[in-house]
């Protein structure tokens, strides 16, 4: 099995030696070390490590500034901060700079290994955990909700969405997911489906319905569906409080919503009104 490459940023030889000692006994390998921020930037580009351990105090900048520079080069850089202090303000600032985890010195061997393992978790494992624990709940909720809201039966398909973009011609309701796992849900459909769906939902099959009313109706339905999904998940995982943000709704033609950098799933419900789709994207390593 290929070893996972870690870079250490720390100005202390002793700390570097201790971390190297812990990591090299395992499935990790220390591919390089940097003594200061400038060196870290240079070596990161050269080594492309899977993750970085970061000391807070460096001679030329602090660990947060150094992390910010690394994330500017690679917005996906996975960084674990190891510092003597671990207060809320440091964590807040660190999170803004893109640091994923915070460990306190002296670092415990197991804590360090677990943190790095989660951070470098392989993609196949991540997909199966997300699919089984979260996405399948949304599949059931979508099918049931479409029946209870607009009385349609649907054939629902679930697949990993590896496309770079969601192409939307019609309406997309974006609802953020906070807590764990963090991400977003997007309920979307084309213009014709939106009109049919909203007429049935609002029980105005004959009336003229304008697009604003139609997209409002879809927004409301999406909010209900995603809300139900999240409640079901919270019922099962009592320790993980997922919450939803208010919906943001976009309407128009030829809209592309970026889908890269997320682990995404597409649920397509084929109904007599048209296809009603849901994309669930989860941020990795958060």
């Amino acid at each position: 099995m290929e070893k996972i490459r870690i870079m250490i940023v720390d100005d202390s030889r002793v700390s570097c030696a201790m971390l190297t000692d812990i990591l090299n006994k395992t499935n990790f390998v220390v591919c390089g070390t940097a003594r200061n921020a400038a060196e870290a930037v240079e070596r990161y580009q050269e080594l492309c490590p899977a993750a970085v351990t970061m000391d807070m105090n460096l001679p030329d900048a602090d660990g947060i500034e150094c992390s910010r520079r690394l994330r500017a080069i690679d917005p996906e850089a996975k960084i674990v901060m190891i510092s003597a202090m671990r207060d809320a303000s440091l964590i807040m600032k660190g999170r803004e700079a893109g640091i994923s985890s915070f460990l306190q010195k002296p670092v415990s061997e197991n804590e360090l290994l677990d943190t790095l393992l989660v951070l470098c978790h392989d993609r196949a494992g991540t997909i199966s955990v997300l699919r089984e624990s979260y996405v399948k709940t949304f599949v059931k909720v979508l099918r049931k909700s479409l029946f209870s809201l607009v009385g349609v039966h649907s054939k629902v398909e679930l697949e990993v969405d590896a496309d770079d973009y969601l192409e939307v011609d019609g309406v997309a309701v974006i609802i953020g997911l906070t807590g764990y796992p963090m991400g977003r849900a997007i309920v979307y459909m084309d213009q014709a489906t939106m009109m049919k769906f909203s007429r049935v939902l609002l029980n105005q099959e004959e009336a003229e319905l304008d697009e604003t009313d139609a997209s409002d109706a879809v927004e409301e339905a999406a909010n209900i569906i995603v809300g139900r999904g999240v409640s079901k998940i919270n019922d099962v995982f009592k320790d993980k409080e997922m919450r939803i943000t208010p919906p943001g709704t976009i309407c128009g033609v030829k809209i592309r919503i970026a889908n890269s950098k997320l682990t995404s799933f597409r649920i397509t419900a084929s109904t007599q009104l048209g296809d009603i789709c849901m994309n669930l994207g989860f941020a990795e390593g958060e």
Partner: protein
């Protein structure tokens, strides 16, 4: 919505952008809107929830988005608004909203933020609130970035 809630977002821009190599952003214009906003080409929505619930949209033209991405990547030329440039803009939106969340927490209003959603298109509308929301135009070295802020 309460106008004082704009400051945490504006302050985030003023704090974070210079750290990434930009001139200090200036507030160019502020207005109250209802209904929908027209996307300028590139729009990133970030939602938040907990003590306050709402959305913030970072709305800009593709030109501005490319300028920002290029500056963030240490002046690397950005000819196409490609995957890397989009990723920089998403990251910026995440950093700005996280900083705004810190500012809100300091005012006693803790929020958790969602993953940013970046949308691109020549012709689309965004609705982030059923009520009124605030639009702040920020001047970023001659480029305008529009912030739409809705809190409920």
């Amino acid at each position: 919505m309460d106008a004082k809630l704009v400051n945490p977002f504006v302050d985030a821009l003023v704090t974070v952008m210079p750290q990434m190599g930009f001139a200090v952003p200036k507030r160019a214009n502020i207005s109250v809107c209802s209904q929908t906003t027209k996307s300028l080409g590139v729009s990133v929505i970030v939602g938040f929830t907990k003590v306050l619930r709402g959305n913030v949209v970072y709305n800009m033209t593709e030109e501005t988005a490319k300028f920002i991405a290029s500056t963030m990547m240490m002046g690397m030329p950005v000819a196409e608004f490609d995957d890397m440039a989009q990723s920089a803009i998403s990251e910026m939106s995440n950093m700005l909203t996280a900083n705004a969340a810190t500012n809100l927490a300091a005012m006693g209003m803790e929020v958790d933020i969602s993953t940013p959603s970046l949308s691109i298109g020549a012709d689309f509308q965004i609705k982030i609130s059923n009520d009124t929301y605030l639009v702040v135009e920020m001047d970023l070295g001659g480029h305008i970035m529009e912030l739409d802020i809705a809190v409920r």
